[in-house]
Structure formats: structure tokens, C-alpha cells
């Protein structure tokens, strides 16, 4: 086994000689952590620019407006005593993307509702933004339900069925909702995103670096020289993997500390579960890198293949957005990436204090990747050690 040590030593020397690559491999994770940490929140949209065209000016309109203002979803701007031209102006503002939605409170709605009749508030939403539009609709819906309940409660009191508005509210909406937030009570998006970002960075690093390692030996013609030594294909893989494994571990610690310092992401969790997930995931990604390397003739081919693998994983693995946001037909593809299992398990371990037993299936799935990729690589390398 000592000859494997010499191969690992050689790979370390390559890393040390290639200062630029080494610096890149050590700095890139930090930079990406900062960028992703700040840039990517959960897909909750707040402060949507909304224009309210108030043609009514009555009590109903006023209360509706107050309710909208109270919601963090909207950033409202009100046109009071609005005319029909103001509605046209609102249409124009929507077209120019000055606002994402506008709400028209029609003339006479207060009078109609107060005298026992009905009225309707009109909402026009820019549906070209598929994140914003549903939020606007949802929030206006709940605002309307809330206002209706209030009005019904008031009506009950006015007709002396109850002695207060509060009692009336209990009558019209007997079910109340009591919510408790667990594991991430402040709904901090970084808590969700960071485990994914760590996975992405580790994947990026390991797959690309490993993919070029054997392809580079082929390109230089040194693979032949390695192949005539007594080193077996398995030993070659293990020796090449060691330095990058150590580097990936360093980067993991680096990124986790940064995530904690900058975004207060909890580093808790069961040490055993966290360590096992990180180790098996790194091995799986290195394995995929090796497989790419073995089937590539040169470095540029290896990089192309690596990128082709990494990009879909970015989107599909659930690193940034939950897998549930994807259409059901695409979801099975996500399970072709170890990153998917890592994000799932790592999130559970960091945020929900999952134990080794809890994440065992994620570990098993990633373990399968390790075995399959290494096995296939060794087999392919044995058949054609110097394939060009």
C-alpha cells in the first residue's frame, strides 16, 4: 500500500506546484458561499409594488387598504379620489412594469356593502412573473376573507346578536389557526439554502477536479507510464483521490464556518450523521469525476462532460428550491445525482438534528454511487489502460 502513498504524494505536489488552481480551489467555495448566501432566498416574495386605485374613499375602502398595508407582501401606493383615467394610468404602469399589480376599489362599494348589498374589488396582476403573481392572488384572497369576516362580525353586533365585534368574529369564524414553526422558526432562507450550497460547492469542486486528473495523465502520455508500474487501477484511483478528498474536507469546514459566521446557519446536528454524509457524498462525487475522467480522451472533453453533469444537478437536486417545485415528470431525474440525497440528508442533519439512523437511506443511496462509479472506473481502466 506504500506505493499508493507515493501516488498521493505526487498528486499533492501537482496541487502545490499549480498555485493558481490551488488558490482557486480554496477560495472559490468561500466566494460562492457569500454570493449564494446573499442572493438566494426562499421563493417568498415580499414588498410587491402594488397600485391601489381608490375610487370609493369610504370606510370599506379604507379598511381594505389598511389590511393590505399591514401585509409584508405589498408595498402599496394609493391614488385617492381616483377617476377612470387613473384606472387607465394604472394599466399603463402595469405594462411598463412600474407595478406588479393594481387593485381598483370601485365607486360606491362602501355604500353598497353597508346597506347590506355586495360589491367587488378588482385586482389586475402581471402574470408574466410566475413567482409574484401567485403571491399577490393568495394575499389578496386572504385579505378579502379577513375583511368579510370583520364585516359579518360587525353586522352581527349591529343587529344585537352579539355584544361585541370580537364575539361576532368568534361566531363567523369559529375555527382559529394556531401555528408553531419548528427547526427554523424565523423562516431564515439561508437555513434552507446553505446545506444545498455546501453540497453544490463540494460537487463542483470534486467532479471537475477529479474529472481532469486522469484525463490529464492521458493527455500528457503519462498514463502509459503509470500503467506499466505495478500499481493496479484501484490503487491508481485511491492514490489520486486522497489529496482531493482532503481538500474537499477542508473546504467543507471552511464553508460551514463561513455560513455560521455570516448567516448564523446552525452547525449543530449529530456529528456522526453530519460527518458520514459529508464523507460519503465527497466520495460519491469523486467517483463520478473519476468515471468521467476514464471515459474522456482529454481534459477539455472531461470538463465538458463534467459541466454537462453538474448543471442539471444544480437545478434538479433541490439545492436551491425544493424538489417539490418541479413537475412530477422531471423529479425522478433528480435521483440520479448524489447531490439530491446529500441536500436531503444534510438539511435534516443540520436543521432537524437527524441521527445517523434517520439519514441511513440517503447514505445508502450515495454509497451505491460510490460503489458503482469506482467499480465501473476500475473495470474500464483495466480493459484499456491507455485508451486514447
Amino acid at each position: 500500500m506504500r506505493n499508493v502513498y507515493h501516488l498521493a504524494l505526487k498528486e499533492f505536489l501537482h496541487l502545490v506546484r499549480d498555485r493558481r488552481t490551488l488558490a482557486f480551489l480554496l477560495l472559490m467555495p468561500s466566494v460562492l458561499t457569500v454570493i449564494f448566501g446573499y442572493a438566494i432566498g426562499s421563493p417568498r416574495v415580499t414588498a410587491i409594488r402594488t397600485l391601489v386605485v381608490d375610487q370609493d374613499g369610504g370606510r370599506i375602502a379604507e379598511e381594505y387598504l389598511e389590511a393590505m398595508d399591514a401585509s409584508i407582501t405589498f408595498k402599496t401606493e394609493v391614488i385617492e379620489d381616483a377617476t377612470d383615467e387613473d384606472v387607465e394610468r394604472a394599466e399603463e404602469a402595469l405594462r411598463r412594469d412600474d407595478v406588479s399589480a393594481f387593485v381598483v376599489i370601485p365607486r360606491g362599494i362602501s355604500d353598497a356593502v353597508e346597506s347590506g348589498g355586495t360589491g367587488s374589488v378588482r385586482a389586475v396582476v402581471d402574470a408574466s412573473d410566475t413567482f409574484t403573481a401567485p403571491s399577490v392572488l393568495r394575499e389578496l384572497g386572504s385579505t378579502t376573507v379577513q375583511q368579510n369576516a370583520l364585516l359579518a362580525a360587525e353586522r352581527l353586533r349591529r343587529e344585537d346578536h352579539v355584544h361585541s365585534v370580537e364575539a361576532g368574529l368568534e361566531q363567523v369564524s369559529p375555527i382559529t389557526l394556531d401555528t408553531e414553526m419548528r427547526f427554523n422558526p424565523e423562516l431564515k432562507s439561508q437555513n434552507f439554502v446553505m446545506p444545498g450550497v455546501i453540497g453544490l460547492i463540494l460537487q463542483l469542486l470534486t467532479v471537475i477536479v477529479m474529472a481532469t486528473s486522469i484525463a490529464r495523465e492521458r493527455e500528457r502520455g503519462t498514463m502509459e507510464q503509470l500503467a506499466v508500474t505495478p500499481l493496479t487501477p484501484a490503487q491508481i484511483f485511491v492514490g489520486k483521490l486522497v489529496p482531493y478528498f482532503v481538500l474537499a474536507l477542508l473546504d467543507t469546514v471552511n464553508v460551514m464556518v463561513l455560513a455560521w459566521l455570516l448567516f448564523g446557519v446552525a452547525l449543530g446536528g449529530h456529528v456522526l450523521a453530519v460527518t458520514a454524509l459529508v464523507v460519503v457524498f465527497i466520495l460519491g462525487s469523486l467517483g463520478i469525476g473519476q468515471l468521467i475522467s476514464v471515459v474522456s480522451r482529454n481534459q477539455s472533453q472531461a470538463v465538458q462532460l463534467a459541466v454537462f453533469y453538474i448543471l442539471p444537478a444544480f437545478v434538479l437536486s433541490g439545492a436551491f428550491t425544493p424538489i417539490e417545485t418541479q413537475p412530477e415528470g422531471v423529479r425522478p431525474v433528480a435521483y440520479l445525482f448524489p447531490l439530491t440525497y446529500f441536500c436531503h440528508g444534510f438539511r435534516a442533519a443540520l436543521l432537524r438534528q437527524a441521527t445517523l439512523l434517520d439519514v441511513r437511506w440517503d447514505l445508502v443511496a450515495m454509497g451505491v454511487f460510490v460503489v458503482v462509479t469506482f467499480g465501473t472506473s476500475v473495470l474500464l481502466l483495466r480493459i484499456r489502460p491507455d485508451a486514447r
Binding site: R2, N3, Y5, H6, L7, L9, K10, L13, H14, R17, D18, R220, G221, T222, E224, Q225, L226, A227, V228, T229, P230, L231, I383, P385, D386
Partner: protein, 316 residues
Amino acid sequence: MIETGALTRTFAHVRAVDRLHLRVARGQIFGFLGPNGAGKTTTIKMLCGLLQPSSGKARVAGCDIRRQRGRIKRTTGYMAQTFSLYPDLTVEENFRFFSGVYGIYGRAAAQRMERLFADVELLDLKDVQAGRLSGGMKQRLALACALVHDPELVFLDEPTAGVDPSQRQRLWDFLYDLCERGTSLFVTTHYLDEAERCHEVGFMLGGRLIAQGAPRDLREQLRRRLLGVEVQRAVEAMRALRALPGVADVTIHGYELRVLYERAVDWQQEEPRIESASAAAGAPVARVYALEPTLEDLFIGYARGEVRSADPERGG
């Protein structure tokens, strides 16, 4: 040392090596010759375990190349055609890597390095990155690395390609040294002057061995088949002489034409025919004489199919 039986390797319907029968004795420098694409490199790769044969068998240093690849790797060395060391590592780091991989560590490795580096004159360059070495130095380092484990047999695939003549000379001196100390060498080369220095040469063409023997014995085949013609207007004379009956080929060497006949001839009998044919083409001949055949004449003759193998039986 090497013995092959109907060794064959096929690449996508092309037989790179075609039922090769080759025997190489221990303790000599064997020159493996042939034009590009003749199958030399493929043969070497099969013999040192880099490539599986499609069919046939071979024994190298007493080991079966299919079943005892591990042992072959420990008893043979291989120096590839292209420089295949790590340019970003120093001379010493390259050597230490290969010795480590062959299981030679610590003091044994240091002693081996001192000795080999003294032999190939690299002691002063230990801390230089391999990528900064000149062509000749790189080859010497590659040779030292191929010899770390003191192999019984070393395969050298064009060890002197791209190396200047004085460096080539030094490398060959070292190869003789090595051979003297008991290492067998299997060398491919395109330099025919180097081939002349081998104890024995084999000539490959189209995946087959078409001739094998000591350089002097092989050259004898061309004795009395080569005539020299001194002439000023060589191109016209060449065209005229090629049309003569019995002439296989004519090559130009400055003011000298080398005329190869299909069979042995008497140059005094041929002289008048050559003179009249050449004069008719407007190229008067200065003189005609018998030529001492070289391996190069033989090489070109073989490659063009104008000379048939000396020993067809052995050629398979």
C-alpha cells in the same frame, strides 16, 4: 528473453500486428525497425502488458503476457515514445515517485537515484523541474525512471527521437553500458546508424516480421545488387535508369545515384547499358561502381517491397 507465437492485435478490422513470431535472446540490444504504422509500438505495448493481444501468445522474461502481467511489470521497464514524466515535478521528485510506486523507499531509493543519476549525468539537475529540461536530458531522465526497479529487460520506443547527434551518442554509450551489466534492451528507432549498432535487428512491415538477424548478415542480401552512378543531372538520369530492365529502384544522394537491382549483377557488365541509357536522357555518366550496401538501402527496399525477406520461415 522474448518469444511470441502468432501474436495478433486487431483495431477495428485493421490488423496492427499480424501473427507475429519473434524470438529475442537474452543479454543483447535488439533493434526493432520498420516504417510508421508497421505495428512496432503495438507490439511493444502488448509485450509490456499495456495492451491485450487479440490472439496468439507471448512470453517475456519467462512470464506469460496474458496471465503474468503483474510479474512482467516488475521485471521489465518501459520508456514511451513521448516524454511521459511530470513536467511540473522536479527531476528528483519524478524519480522518487516512480521508485516509490515500484516499492523502493528511503535509503534504497536514494542510493539507486545517486547511482542512476550519475550514470545518465543528471546529478546537477535534481532540483530542476522536468519541463525545463532539454530534449536529451528529458530522455535521460525518462530512462533513469524506466530503470528504477533494475529490470531485466527494457523496452525503449524511439528513445532518441528529437535528440541531437551528440546527445544520441551519449545515450547509446549508456545503453551499451547497461547491456554489459546484463540488461536486455529492446529498442525501436528510425535512425539506421543506430540500428547498425544493435546486436540483432528485426524488420517489421504491415504487422509482420519480415526479416531478422545481425545487421551485417542482413546487409549481405544486397551484396552485388547495388551500383553507384556518379552523374551531374541526377533527376534525368534517375528517370532513365528506372526504366532499365532488372532495376528495382533508383535513389538520389546528391551527385550519386544508388541503383538497386532485382538480383545480383556484375557491375562491369551493367556499366555500358547504364551509360548509354543515361546519355540518351541528356545526363552523361561520370563513373559506375559497386556499392557497399547499408541498412538504409535494405530498409527502403523492404518498405517498398523491392527486397523480399531473408528468412521467410521466420517471418511467418
